[in-house]
Every structure is written in C-alpha cells, then in structure tokens.
C-alpha cells in the first residue's frame, strides 16, 4: 500500500454535511453521494451568486513538469489547509481525475502525503459519475449523427468531413482509430471514426466553461460535428442533440464538495485535458468557491506556460475572473533536471545544476508578471534537498524580488505551508494584482498564437502553413475571431521540443493544425503530437488491483 493511501485510510473524515455547514452551505442545498461526498445544488449556487461578494482568487501553477515530480496538487491542498490554519476562510478548487489512467500507471490525482483530498479512492474512481455523464452526452451526439445519416441525411453531412469522435474514460489504444458501421445495410454507412479519452471531449471543455445550465445547453448546441459538401458547419443543435445532452449533464453540472485531510472544504469538479483543452476545473465550482470563501486556491494543469496561460487567457477571460495572486511550484529535484541532471543522478547535491535549472522557474515567474499577477514561489521540499541547493533557488528568486517559500505540507500538512500562506496573504494585502489577459479579444487568431509564442514561450517565430492559415481565416469568417486560442503542445518545455529543458528561446513554434471548439469557445492550435487516447503500459496497474477478503481495494495506489 502506498504511503498516500495509508495516510488517507487512517484519516477520520467529517460528515460532508459538517464540512458544508462550515463553508456556508446549508444541508438543504446538498445532494449527498454517500457520507463524504456531496453535490451542491444549482439553486443554491445561483442564490449565492446573487447575494454574496467574491473572495480572493489564488492560482497555483508550476514549472515545466519533469519525471522528478513537482507536487502542484499537493501544494494547492497544502496552501488551502494552511490558509484555514491561519484563520482565513479558504476553499480549494481542483479538477476531477480521470478514471482510465488509474489502470495504466499507478497513482491518483488527489494530492499526496498529508495534503490530500479525500475520500481518495472514490474521487479517483467513479466519484459522483460526472465523467460517465459527459461520456454519455458525447456518445449520444455521435449516435444521433450517424443515425441522421442512416435515415436519409437531410442536413447533407459530408461523411468524409465528420470531426466528432466518440469517447470513453479508458486508456484504450485499440479505439484510437476504427472503421464503424460495418456489417451491412442495417448498420449504416461505413466510415472512419475513433475514440478519445473523455477528458479530451469538447463536451468536457464546454461543461467546465459554462456559466449555468442554460449556457451549457447553448454551448452544447454550438459544437460543430461535421461539414456539408458545401463547407457549411453542422452543429449539435442542427442534429437536435443539444437538449438531450444537457439533460444527461444536468446533475453532473452541480459542483462536488469533498474535504481535505485537514478538513478544508474542496470543490472537485470537471477535468478537461490541458493540451487540446484548457485544463482547469469548472467555472461553476470556482465561482461558487469565490462567493463562499475569503480565499479560493485553485490549480491549472501542466506548467505555467500551458496551464496558467490557459487558465488566465481562456477561463478567467471567459468567466470574468481576476486572480489576486499566484503561486509557482518548484522542487529542487525538478530544477536540477532542468539544469541537465538525469533522474538517476538526483541523489547527489548539485548546486551548479540548480543554478542552471532555476532559469525555468525564473521565466515562469516573469511570465506571471506579464499577466499582472504577483507571484510567490512554493519550493516543495523533498528528502535529500540540501540547504545549499535550497539557498540557490531562494537567492535566484530574491534577485527577482520574489519570495521562495520552503514548504513541507506533504510531510507536515497545514503547518508545513503556513509560511507560504502568509506570503500569499501579504501579496493579496498589498493589492498588487492588475490582471490583464495577454491579448485582446479582437486580435486576429494567428496573432493571438503569435503573441503567446513570443511572450510566453519566447519563440522567435511561429510557423503556420498556408492551409492552416486558411482554416484560421475561415473560423474568423464564421464569426469566431473573438475567441481565445488554446495551444496544444508538449508540457515538458517552453518550446515544442520536449527535450529542450531549462529556458529555451529563439525557437520556432510549428502550428500543425487548428481546430474550432465552438461549443467550448476557443480555437485549438496543435503544435506537436497530441495524444487524445492513451494506451496501457506493458504491465498495467490494473493487473495488481483487486478486492481483498473484506471487500477493500488493493493495489490501486
């Protein structure tokens, strides 16, 4: 059993009604799912929006991830717990983990050590069924699309130009590329198709960006599934699928309330991919948190170049949110890898490597300032970090006028992040935040891509083939010039080359393709290989997962 699971199982959880009451949510507003999970009713969500002012918003982001691990979710939880510990009323907002990957490589997505959201097994498995509902909505649209063609294709869909794919919450490479509708007349017209993992579905992105159920239904209706021979887009609304999809999502759309090991309230809701989508939890959860708490701590996927940029330029822009501070998470180990050290050599002190690698952190910190956000660095301590290595990071940050706070919430829980919480509250109290998105709404789409590439990735130029430029022009002509762009590239580097660690600059960002996510409300620029359906490894974690004689889960974490 992993130490994370051992700690989670040893914890005594409070009834979710008590957690809710402390957070200002009355029992009548809860739809319990067992004793320790609940959905917060949408009537109540609407009411607090009308009645209560907004608290402060703190974004937790990180350096470019490395195999050494950074602990971003852990820091988000630890910071929230520490804020409550020092007397703030704080809530935590996180993404829901995907079920599929649990059976591939071991490990959950609910924090770790003494900074976890619980019940961790439930959250990592079916939780409250949200992802299953999103899967069903995605696949109902697909079924209605093929059914429309089967019964005569009145909309004139060009079957070669269908872009809507089916979805499952499963790592299953066999479904990436299929030919369906085989087997004769009764089964329809054979065509190429494929499945994505559900976190990559545009339904997920639309779900996470929708303001309310009505907005959700409208977004679902705008999803483009195919083109006609004349090049006209066919939407979910054209297929009359939007309503039934919204019905499937109605219950799921209510945010999920759980608790941390320290008893902080946490909203864990929605979980879009951070490459072809924007990678953060639902707007409805974040807003609920902001109306209930003095401070909301939330997280964005991957490093700050992808995750924070999308959180700010997509989610905050579209939802009208403005963060008050941000935390950039780093570890000595990961910075050493950015400084050129192999994972196998991380056990030795290597101050020069830290000094080389800290450029990655420094650039993310600078980038956050470009958005008008005051950054604090959380240096998430691992066993084996030496005093000299830690000092090297702190000195580098000090030179930039940034506090780098050593954190031990993994080992010590809330107490281990108190200094971080105090630093964050200092930044908020100083009122330094002047949040502005990186580019204005009315900039041409190609220029938006260029702005992100130059300002955030420090690319010399953006290579957009003519065919891709023509697609962008078409999107603009269709009325989608105002939307933000969502860049799908490797999370391991500022550049499109996953091996270029540290702080590369002067590189070229190659835009291979662009896609319009009209329901979600952004244009995806694909810069590199994007895997939307993972596979299982040679020995999947699933092989050692089972129920013991008492019906308890073995081997999941």
């Amino acid at each position: 059993m992993s130490i994370d699971l051992e700690i989670a199982r040893a914890a005594t959880l409070a009834p979710i009604t008590r957690i809710a009451a402390a957070a200002g949510i009355p029992e009548e507003a809860l739809e319990p799912y067992g004793k320790f999970k609940a959905k917060v009713g949408l009537d109540f969500v609407g009411r607090v929006r009308a009645e209560r002012p907004l608290g402060k918003l703190v974004l937790v982001t990180g350096i470019n991830p490395t195999p050494a691990g950074e602990g971003k979710s852990t820091t988000t939880v630890g910071l929230g717990d520490a804020l409550n510990h020092i007397g703030q009323r704080a809530m935590i907002c996180l993404r829901e983990p995907s079920l599929g990957p649990c059976f591939g490589v071991k490990g959950g997505a609910t924090g770790g050590g003494h900074a976890q959201v619980v019940p961790m097994e439930d959250i990592n498995l079916h939780f409250t069924g949200d992802f299953h509902a999103i899967t069903a909505a995605n696949n109902l649209l697909a079924a209605m699309l093929d059914n429309h063609i089967y019964w005569g294709n009145a909309l004139g869909i060009d079957a070669r130009r269908i872009t809507w794919r089916r979805a499952l919450d499963m790592n299953d490479r066999a479904l990436r590329s299929v030919v369906g509708s085989l087997g004769g007349t009764a089964n329809g017209f054979p065509r190429e198709d494929g499945f994505d993992i559900v976190v990559a579905s545009e339904v997920m992105a639309a779900f996470c960006l929708a303001h309310d159920l009505d907005d959700l239904q409208q977004r679902l209706g705008r999803i483009i599934v195919a083109q006609t021979r004349e090049g006209k887009s066919v939407t979910a609304a054209d297929l009359k699928a939007d309503g039934a999809m919204a019905v499937l999502l109605r219950d799921a759309f209510a945010p999920n309330l759980v608790q941390t090991l320290a008893g902080s309230p946490a909203l864990v809701h929605g979980g879009p991919f951070a490459n072809i989508a924007h990678g953060c939890n639902s707007v409805v959860a974040t807003k609920l948190g902001l109306h209930l708490a003095d401070v909301v701590v939330t997280e964005a996927g991957f490093g700050a170049d992808l995750g924070a940029e999308k959180f700010l330029d997509i989610k905050c822009r579209l939802a009208g949110l403005a963060p008050d501070a941000c935390v950039v998470v780093a570890t000595v180990r990961a910075l050493k890898m950015h400084g050129g050290v192999a994972k196998s050599a991380l056990g030795h002190e290597d101050v020069p490597a830290v000094k080389r690698g800290v450029v990655n952190l420094a650039r993310h910190v600078e980038n956050m300032r470009k958005f008008g956000l005051p950054p604090v660095v959380a240096l998430n301590r691992f066993n084996g970090d030496t005093a000299a290595e830690i000092q090297a990071v702190q000195e580098a940050m000090s030179a930039l006028g940034v506090e780098a706070i050593l954190c031990t919430h993994w080992a010590d829980g809330a107490a281990g992040a108190v200094k971080l919480a105090e630093a964050v509250m200092r930044r908020i109290a100083a009122g330094e935040a002047r949040f502005t998105p990186l580019y204005p709404d009315d900039m041409p789409l190609a220029d938006k891509i260029g702005t992100i590439a130059r300002e955030i990735y420090r690319a010399r130029e953006v290579a957009i083939p003519d065919a891709v430029r023509a697609k962008l022009a078409r999107f603009e002509a269709q009325g989608f010039r105002q939307v933000p762009v969502c860049i799908a590239k490797t999370q391991y580097s500022f550049s499109a080359d996953p091996t270029a660690l540290g702080a590369p600059e002067g590189h070229v960002l190659p835009v291979r393709d662009v896609r319009l996510s009209a329901g979600a409300g952004f244009v995806v620029a694909i810069c590199g290989d994007v895997m939307t359906m993972p596979g299982l490894p040679r020995v999947p974690a699933a092989e050692s997962i089972r129920l013991d004689a008492e019906g308890r889960i073995e081997g999941l974490f």
Copy 2:
C-alpha cells in the same frame, strides 16, 4: 408531458432514510445518493443474511408481450403497494432501466400511473451509476485484452477467435460492427470488433447472479474472452483483469433503495437482457428483500416462457431461491391481439377474440404449475375493456382453477390491487408451492434445451446443427455440463416465429448457435435473431428532450 410523469412529479416523496427505517434498514447502513435514492451497504446486507429468516417470494410474470402493452412492472409495483396496504410488510424488487433506450423511443421502465417507483427521471437516467460502472468493467477487460496482444501476446490468443466485445449504454447501430486498432503500429493489430448495449454484457449477468463481492470477483475471472490457436479458452483471470473489474463494481454491487408513489420500499438493482441473459434484478437485492420483508414481489422480463423460465431455472436455481406464488399479468387488449385482432381494431368489443387469445394466458398458467408454483392471474384493466370480455377471461381461468383478478392499480394505486394481494396471500397461506426447476443440473446441455422447448414452448423438436452440437460437447468437456441454459428467442411467441401468437405447438425450435457465459454461469442457446445493440429510430425521442428555463427535464417521457 406524459400522465405518468405528471403523477410522478406531483408526488411528495419521503426522505429515503424514512423509507429505509420502515423497511428495517438503519441510517448507518445507507449510502445516500441525493435525498431519495440510497445504496444499502454490503456490510448490512451480509449481517441480515446471517441474522434474519427469509420472507415469501412472489414472481410477477406475463403473457407474451404485444404492442397493446401488459403492465408487468406496473402490476409488480401495484401488488407490492397493495400488500403493504393490507398490512403485510412487502418489498418490491425490480430491474434498473437502461439509459440508452430513453433516447430512442419515449418511455421509461419504472411502472406507470399510480403504480410507479420514484424518482422516475433519476432511475431512468444515470440513477446511482451502476450501469456506467458495468460499462467501465466490460471495457477495461477489452482494453486489457488488446493491450496483452499489443505487448507480445504471451497467452497466445488467436485474434480471430476473440469473443469479448466492448459495451456502451447507448442505442448506436454504428458500433455493432467495427474494425479497431487501425492507424499503424502504435495502435495495435487491426481486428474485427463490436459493441453491445451494456445490459447485454456478461458482466451485467455475472453482477446480477453473484452472491457477494468475492463470488463476483471469481465470476468475473471465469469470463471467457477468446481462444488460443490450440482451442484453449482465455479468461479474464488469465488477463489479470478480474480484480480491477471487481474494484470498478464494488460500490455498484450494493443494492439501490427507492420508493413507490405509495411509499413502499423498492430495491431496483441490475438489469440484464432477457434474451441472451436471464432478465431479472440482482440476486443480492432479492435476497436482501427476502431477509427484510414478509413478502417480496419481483418481476421477470418478457413473457413467462422466457422471463419466468429463466428466473426459475437460472436465478432461483443458482441462488437457492424458491418462490411461493406467481402472478401472470394479462390484459384484455393483449389477449385480443393473441386472438388475431390488429392493434388498430382494439377499440371494439370482441369476446370471441378474447376467447381465442386466452389460450396464450392459459398455457403460461399451466407452465407455472410445471414449476410447482400456484398461479394467480392479474387482469390489468384498461379503459374500454368490456364486462363481457373480462368475464371471458375469468371463466377461462376459472375452468383451470385459477383466480383472475381485475386490477386497477394504474388508476387507483394500492387500492386497485388489494384483491390481487389478497388472492396472492391466499395462495401463500395454502402452502401450495413445491418449486422444482424444470430440469436437473446434470442433464446434458442439449437435453436441457430440448426439455425447455418441449415443456414450455411446446415445440415438436429442436433443430441443433452438428457444429452447434459439437460446441455443446466442448462446453461439457470443459466442465460446464452442470450449468443451466439461457434461451435467446423472440419474446412475442412461444415459438421462434414472432408472428405465431396465441398458443402455437408442434413447431421446431432452431438453435442457431450456442455460447458459453462461464462468468454468469450459463450456456446461451441462440434461437433466432438477437439484437444486442439497438439503433435509434428515424426521429429519436432525444430530439425533443431538453432542459427548460428552470433546469427541469422536458420531453423525456
């Protein structure tokens, strides 16, 4: 809005904790899913098994279904309500409806009128997520199978002899027959594949027949997914998928408690197809009901020739259950159709047609006696039934020594089924039941099929091609001679010809194929076309389903 939905929405539901308490289930044993649905914890389920004696079991079955409708679920609910009304402590056990069909043709599967289980929208949509969990378990096994081949195929699976299919809870003809793993090396070895609707998954059947979690994990392990080139069966346990599948099903395996409009406790749990599987709710729910209540009323799918036969020869045999009475549901309208009247002509009195069609009912009644069960006929009254027509049915039944009770529970709720409840209690009090399965465990498989065909279907002979006989012999050689057989044939007739209404005899039952469901624990004999993945109609119900301005569901029923 349908009248069923109008009645359901107008009802004031009791908190599920109160329903549970009245049924003898303490609040600590409940996992609530919202305020009106709960799962009953498996610890409690185990405890009552050890501590409390069994109540009486009443099976509700019916004549061969016709488009005129019979109201079997409605009668099951009405009878349960009426038993409580006359002072018995009764519980109702039903199947969970499948989500997919809701979007095809309008209509739910939770009873009707004043005899419904509620909350009907929840039960018909995601409910407590059981079917999604079963879908995930089914598809994890498929993913692990293809992954095993991808990474070297150490078990030597013959990819041409893979029988395991993927599953979705969706009506989607495009997925019936696909070729997967296309697109190059990274996606595996292309092969023919397909999806079934999840109620047709063997995981569903195993789930519904398992005694406890340990038995479930073992059944999952026995599921056969493929053959090797040498003809050796490859199981889920060989792929080491059984444990992770059981983990996915752990929470779902706890029975779901809801209520009827009259406040009776109802366990709605599991829902296998009634053709390629046994078509009744989970053993764990039925047994829980029997340990809690004085009388449990439960239902079997389709007409008694398929549904009751499987309930008795598969579920009761494997679970050690013995019913104390059975109710055969009929309507004047449906009997007129069995007497040759078209649906469009049902508006006119036609006593001769009733007399011709009542042979269908009479034969089902006789068949129930072959199992040693005392039958009562529930004549489910519809507007337009005339006194002379009703009398014709009652006289025919009287000649067989069977009470045919006119029921009006659809319109009148519990009061409308009091006479039925009294008749059922008379049969139970008389102690007439001598339940015996139709055939012994150790009869050869082909003879089991023959026995059902002769005794229940009244076929002259069974046509089993040599290749199919050879498969049966192989199953027996593999150690599966002792299992019951599950016949997949049309539900509309005693014969394999769906147009042969009334009481055909002397026909030939053609066995086209046989399959071994080693995890569920039966052999399926396929006699006719079996559709395991429905399609959507020209105008799917989904097109008119949507959320209104208050977030309420429109158009679902």
